[in-house]
Symmetry: C2
Subunit: 220 residues, 2 copies
């Protein structure tokens, strides 16, 4: 009779080695990295050049040609919301398991990814894709109002001072990595709870470790 | 010793009674309604006029002033992705429970809500909010390319002919209710698998029942 040792399932996720300098600290792979640092599990980067993301071999991992794609010995995934949710449930960490705490965490998770982030993504797209003129400025101004309105609503809804839900969870990882974009764009607005929350979260050792390792990709 | 009968937990979700005619069949409450019809559980509408969605009493249920908000005797939620996911897990229906089937379903769920729907929502917003001119047309044209690109990718990725994953799930509810928008806008493009899928899904008895009951709100 042999002795079987179950090998620890190795987490792997894709990263870009030649991303523009302005994306440092804002690429979504940071979410998966931060999560794995928080729960203390080892991982490996799968490194790609930006141009390689459009190859069919990569599109099999991530059909939109984006990072991160995730894989371990058992399965492949993409979309950071899905990856964090799945891994949180698999490991039993950083997400309430049931009842109203889980309902609340899931509500926030989807609200942030579906009702806040798309407006910020749209703003980044408008900024990069079009030269400024009256019409673009008008759209940007309406977009800014929408973002400010959402942030104000979230500021009001955020009843816990420290974390989105009762304790640190994947929802915080998503919220912080979203908020870092309006922070960089200086459009975080007059939202003291959100600003204070962001500063505290960015001081977590696991975040700092993840950010530091992510940033090394910009020196390759 | 008394006999305790656990009352069936009643699902309630908010709907609008005076939505513009053009939104018929496209309002997101249809997702929750369809899900509950599929699993055969009773529900009640919480009816609101559009103007009431901006009252603080409603914003406590749904901080962005949108429908649907969901509640039962135990908890309150919003965001259709969160509601469907939570209820699927609670009832043990219409979502794989574990392993690579669950990983795949979650990947699709988030991909549809985060990487496809926002571009369609942006298009609707641009259509309704701005008069057409050269700049708007240029943005609309780039937006269309992005939507077509995503749809093409999903057409390729959709390996099952009938359902997104191996069997009918909440992912189909989300995908169909998203696809109905580009279908109405006649921008579904040359994607025969998606078109065929949409037609089949819209023929499900639970969908037809949900659509019919939803449509009654437009006759109040």
């Amino acid at each position: 009779m042999g002795i079987f040792i179950k090998r620890k399932n190795m987490h792997k996720f894709s990263v870009i080695t030649d991303a523009p300098a302005g994306t440092k600290g804002l690429v979504k792979e940071l979410r998966v990295r931060w999560f794995l640092e928080e729960i203390g599990e080892p991982y490996e980067e799968m490194r790609f050049k930006h141009s390689e993301l459009k190859l069919e071999s990569y599109l099999k991992l991530q059909p939109f040609g984006q990072v991160p794609a995730y894989q371990n010995e058992d399965l492949e995934m993409y979309e950071t919301g899905a990856i964090l949710l799945f891994l949180a449930d698999e490991t039993g960490k950083l997400l309430p398991k049931e009842g109203k705490e889980r309902a609340n965490a899931l509500t926030w998770l989807f609200a942030l990814l579906n009702s806040l982030e798309p407006f910020i993504t749209a703003r980044i797209w408008l900024n990069f894709s079009f030269e400024k003129n009256d019409v673009i400025n008008q759209i940007m101004s309406q977009n800014l109002m929408l973002i400010q309105d959402k942030l104000s609503r979230l500021e009001k809804t955020m009843i816990h001072a420290d974390f989105v839900t009762g304790e640190f969870s994947i929802v915080d990882i998503v919220f912080v990595t979203i908020l870092r974009n309006p922070a960089v764009m200086s459009i975080l607005g007059d939202h003291p709870k959100l600003k204070n929350y962001l500063v505290k979260m960015e001081d977590r050792p696991a975040f700092l470790k993840a950010l530091n390792d992510h940033s090394k990709l910009y020196k390759i």
